[in-house]
Amino acid sequence: MTGFRLKALGLSALLVLTACSDSEQAATEATDAPDGQVKAGFIYVGPVSDGGWTYEHDQGRLAVEAEFGDQVTTTFVESVSEGPDAERVLSQMANDGADIIFTTSFGFMNPTIKVAEQFPDVKFEHATGFKRADNVATYSSRFYEGRHILGLIAGEMTESNVVGYIASFPIPEVVRGINAAYLAAKSVNPEIEFKIIWVSSWFDPGKEADAAKALIDQGADILMQHTDSPAAMQIAEQRGIYAFGQASDMAAFGPTAQLTSIIDDWSPYYIERVGAVIDGTWESGDVWGGFNTGMVALAPYGDAVPEAVRSMADEARAAISEGRLHPFTGPINKQDGSPWLAAGETADDGTLLGMDFYVEGIQGTLPSAN
């Protein structure tokens, strides 16, 4: 019987091993980079196939490969949870000889800083965070510029005057998006109301779909989301209402429902930063690019968007891109009625990066981030 038992143990161990390597698909294309070749690592919070946030980061990685060819090898680890696991994955990547590592979710901030201290020669790039070091740079996109356009379109196109918003976690990036979209919608439609559901997840298609249904049942006829799966888009299509995609073009899931989608284009930034490592000119810093850098883009408008709305949206986009319009321009009060921006005043980046309040007019309480 001992033989049997050993065999069984071996088999289960095998099962565990195959499972682990599957779920973390460390797609290393070359373990030992030849001399002079730069090795770039990426860690993703979701699967590459999420059709949203992580998908676009991986498109950026592929663009780096296409740009530099033999000069660079890239590796990635997907579905890394935000916490101690991230530290483990980061350390391993650094140990495996990565020269630059992109950590592509807000929740990787502390693990990135911690591992960066242990590997002073490795460059780290953390997306959407605010902690930096000599070897840790941060980068993000001004998604709120895109949200402004979404808000304008939603304000013009809603008939019930209720916009449903599926939010993930109450971090500044998400709060900023809600405020930007609300202010823009309000500017063209004073009757507008936002119903916001926090699903406490970046990626749970079942829950996102349930939240979408709840919002529609409560009268929303346009959905916005700040979660990563196309589930809400699909529900919008089923129910015959409109929705905006997130991070990636989701028209495949809502051919008639999608009005447009914010698209994150990380390629220009990733190419620039990996290029800097190759040239030896990399320095820590902070980049926050918007429409003007191409880091924020919009999917083609859906057929349902009328010509007048398109031209208004295009005009606003051009104005933002040229710096003539700032989505946060006073007078704006905070939710509690206290003044934030005086007439004509625009928000400074510091406040935007730490935004932890709703603007006046939004119903409901903002959950605290901690």
Partner: protein, 307 residues
């Protein structure tokens, strides 16, 4: 969508959100009543989710898609059965491995299905009953799988309570040595229970990809297999209580979303925790009540014929 009242749509959504848990919970229940602790429900669910979705994409009707999901679940469960029954491997470790393996396998095999949408499932409106105001459209206007989940629970209850086969299965679960002494095939009964349970878990997963969110992405079961396992304990190993538990869990999930949209001033994190808190509370209450609610006597124990 038709113009339901809010109450109707909430009830409707609760049933949809609960049905995967009903299937998976019943799948775990039949195994545990036979004395098998299978922690691989999550893995079985996601494999079923993928198989059902793949069949639907290939243009198969709902019946075939569901059978494909059941078959996939049963096949993966048979691996578990082989390891645990034949090789006598530790059931806890093997079950955990099965979950990890199933998630990985589905991610690998499912890559080509990501980004595609399954055709919508037709609704079966039950004549007369679906005309009742408010509850009619909420309870009797669903896809066939919702009704099937209730039917499965009724059949399982009848089987366990009133048939000889059910009695044998319970005997094997309560005391496998006695059952063996009486001449019953402990391993045979357990094998059948594992296969059936795997098929049910597979159907539960398929409900996610066929009805709830007709798309496939890896990891989309998002812990529902674990909730199903907790439900069985919550239900003190009785089929109808599994349904009750699943609907309770579904209610809390859906109601917390609605209360947020209504702007109730409860922190979102608390609302997200609520379903799990309710489950833990129920577990505490049940274990405090003791007698008559305990686990099958041989649950999780390996059986080795002494001669």
């Amino acid at each position: 969508m038709t113009d339901y009242g809010l109450l109707t749509s909430i009830l409707h959504a609760i049933l949809v959100a609960s049905t995967p848990l009903v299937f998976a919970g019943l799948g775990a229940l039949i195994q545990e009543r036979a004395g098998v602790l299978n922690l691989g429900i999550e893995g079985l669910m996601i494999v079923g989710a993928l198989a059902g979705f793949a069949a639907a994409i290939a243009g198969q009707p709902l019946g075939i898609s569901v059978m494909a999901a059941a078959l996939a679940g049963a096949l993966l469960a048979s691996v578990f059965a082989f390891l645990v029954l034949k090789c006598l491997s530790n059931p806890v470790a093997t079950g955990l491995a099965l979950t990890l393996f199933g998630l990985g396998l589905a991610a690998l095999a499912g890559a080509q299905y990501v980004g595609r949408a399954a055709p919508q499932i037709a609704v079966w409106e039950i004549p007369l009953l679906s005309d009742i105001p408010v509850i009619g459209p909420a309870l009797f206007s669903h896809d066939p799988l919702v009704y099937l989940s209730i039917l499965v629970a009724v059949c399982l209850w009848w089987f366990l309570s009133f048939t000889r086969g059910g009695l044998v299965l319970r005997a094997v679960g309560e005391n496998h040595d006695s059952a063996h002494a009486l001449g019953f095939s402990v391993q045979g009964v357990r094998f059948l229970a594992i296969i059936t349970g795997g098929a049910l878990a597979g159907i539960g997963g398929a409900y996610l990809t066929l009805v709830q969110t007709p798309l496939f992405v890896e990891g989309m079961t998002a812990g529902r297999g674990w909730i199903a396992l907790a439900l069985v304990v919550f239900a003190s190993w009785r089929p109808f209580r599994v349904i009750a538990g699943a609907y309770l869990f579904g209610s809390v999930t859906i109601l917390q979303l609605h209360s947020q949209a209504l702007g109730l001033a409860i922190p979102a994190q608390w609302l997200s925790m609520l379903p799990y808190i309710v489950t833990i509370l129920a577990l505490v209450l049940i274990s405090a009540r003791g007698q008559g609610h305990r686990a099958p006597g041989s649950l999780g124990q390996l059986f080795r014929a002494s001669r």
